[in-house]
Amino acid sequence: MTSSGVVQILLFFALILACTKPLGAFMARVFDGERTFLHPVLRWLEVLTYKIIGVQEEVEQRWTQYTAALISFSIFGFLLVYFIQRAQGFLPFNPQGFNAGNVSPDLAFNTSTSFITNTNWQAYSGESTLSYFVQMAALTVQNFASAAAGIAVAIALVRGFVRQEKKTIGNFWVDVTRATVYVLLPMSIVAALLFCSMGVIQNLHGYTSVVTVEGAKQVIAQGPVASQEAIKQLGTNGGGFFNANSSHPFENPTPLSNLLQMFLIFVIPGALTYTFGKMVKDTRQGWAIFAAFSVMFFAGVIVAYNSEQAGNPILSHLGIESAATAGQAGGNMEGKEVRFGIASSALFATVTTDASCGAVNSMHDSFTPIGGLVPMFNIMTGEVIFGGTGAGLYGILLYCILAVFIAGLMVGRTPEYLGKKIEQKEVKMAMLAIIATAFSILVLSAISTVIQFPAKGYWNPPGAAIANINNSGPHGFGEILYAYVSGSGNNGSAFGGLNANTPWFNLTIGLAMFMGRFLFLIPLLAAAGSLAAKRKVPTSTGTFPTHGPLFVGLLVGTVIIVGALTFFPAIALGPVVEHYLMNSGKLFSAISTAAAGFLG
């Protein structure tokens, strides 16, 4: 690690830390319905929204109604995104003349699912598939909507801990509206203009055709990028305007814009820990979660940074400088941009997978095995290292439930968290959410490594599902595993070499996204409902304090053990074995489609 790399990481973290309290306190006021400094400017928009959608601000919902609202919100989002994509040929803002032929039904299904579940996986390649109208009216809107829904669910779960003997957990429509109007929209406007000043493009003209200095023709893709870039990061969505996502110079032109992107990814998840503390009237509880986040964040970034800086020994032997010097970054530069180098790339990869963002500024597929394991492992934890907007908080609260349950088992007491007895129902719901994700990752990955299709058939034209990989050997298995990890974890980053735009992968990764989102959210809302109905038990000397270092350690341990034990065999078969093979200089040639019966 270089000293400038370390400074960049610390500076980034300091920015997040500095914003946690002010933004967190602001959000606590917003979701409690109190006035903030933005109300004089934006209250009219909030009121107008309620009027248009026909909702009364004061009427609250039971958990079942809250869930129904969430599902309705998601289904209409899905339908709109699907039909806008398929109808793009008839819609405005389409200078390149894309039409339904560019978006097959299975691809449109995959992208719609992806954007309503906050995954934003890219089986499509923006610049050659989607019109500006689709990017704005379908994708940008869902970037806001899925993030607002995530925040709403997190707040509802926190209300479950705060309330006593109540049947309701808030109003979904009100929470979503407030998250959008007071948090996401104003911050996006500021960020979009900042991005634009740094060089992110924002226009509606057709692609620019130029003749280069050496006389070749180059067609430069254009579009309204900055407005989408802002909410893409702030909402931890991560679906790029372009195929190359945040490595594309028009999405992320400078190291400064790169810092702003990473800041936007973490700022709401970080601040929500303070919002949580504020709402439960004990900010130490929030800081304990923030501390657990930070420990896991630093562990990940240190491992990723060191592995990428160490580089690929196979290439070093060919006579490439692998150490950093004053004039070049060294390390593993395949799939990385010069302006970001190793430190900003490794940091970005950690941040984007700690959170459920999935934007990339470097190609994870070309990372060293251990460097690439970090993003994969981060998603496998359930994205509870800061996590997605809202998703990080509700994910970690679920792990808190498990942590106190495990602690309770060890001492033989009924576990409590924030004064609420954690009983059968809550633990069952927490486990259901975790098992659903693991099931969809492991089962779908396993099927995809063995399933055979006739070549040139409908389901998977290349033939066997593993014929779609770009790298053979353990890395090829890693590509498939990462795809389902990313889908189930609602992350959206990829080992991008996998050709995932076939009906088989579009549909199964879509299924993984559905399971990862809704089989996680619904049990959580059920737990919120059951918690809200309980009475608080007074703290006694036997109560396990959940704000000290002991609890932080227990929480981190629970996350790591549940993640590691569930996925260890799969990790061992992929990145771990690949690491040793790389160090022994083993190379893998492409496997022919005919021989693609098994890996490696």
Binding site: Q8, T49, S72, P253, I320
Partner: protein, 193 residues
């Protein structure tokens, strides 16, 4: 039940209007006024014709120009309509073959340069459109370009140093050289006879 479901449709339509049409169009309008150069792609004009973008790399093959990194975007590289990295993993034979070929070509084209090659010069970028090379990668090519243009290596090194950008705010990212800007400056200062 309907009272939970209908608002879903109404709010989605309203959000599409507000966040999918008004918001991006407003940002477009404001940025076109405040930052027209950036918003339209930081395009570079020469003699009234657009010859590229300062943010998007382009191919240079001639000896008298500094050459960019290998690119996996499109069939010939540097195709902004199909931005992409190679997505080769570290144990892929194709990666090693490609890097070897780049090294051999570089050694042949630059007989004056010895020593280990900067990693960025023989690896493909993430976007396939990387406009930069590292200062070390520029230095490695300086002797060749100087010879092709009939100027002294010192003059060339001075120009490279002038066009080297440091880290943002002195600490973010890496030092770098914009290949297109450097080559345009070359044509201005040391036109090829």
């Amino acid at each position: 039940m309907w009272q939970q479901i209908l608002p879903g449709l109404r709010i989605k339509l309203f959000m599409t209007l507000l966040l999918g049409v008004i918001y991006p169009l407003a940002i477009t309008g404001i940025s076109q006024v405040l930052f027209p150069h950036q918003a339209n792609g930081s395009l570079i004009e020469q003699n009234g014709k657009v010859i590229g973008s300062e943010l998007i790399g382009q191919n240079f093959a001639k000896a008298e120009y500094f050459q960019p990194r290998p690119s996996a975007a499109g069939n010939d590289g540097y195709d902004p309509t199909s931005s992409s990295g190679s997505n080769y993993g570290p144990t892929n034979q194709k990666l090693v073959d490609r890097v070897k070929a780049s090294i051999d070509k570089f050694r042949k084209d630059n007989p004056d340069d010895s020593g280990p090659l900067p990693a960025d010069l023989v690896t493909a970028s993430a976007s396939g459109l990387d406009p930069h090379i590292s200062p070390a990668s520029a230095a490695a090519q300086a002797a060749r370009v100087a010879k092709a243009r009939g100027v002294s290596p010192d003059q060339m090194n001075t120009l490279v140093a002038k066009l080297t950008e440091g880290p943002d705010l002195g600490l973010l990212g890496e030092p770098r050289v914009n290949v297109l800007k450097l080559n345009l400056e070359l044509d201005r200062q040391f036109p090829k006879k």
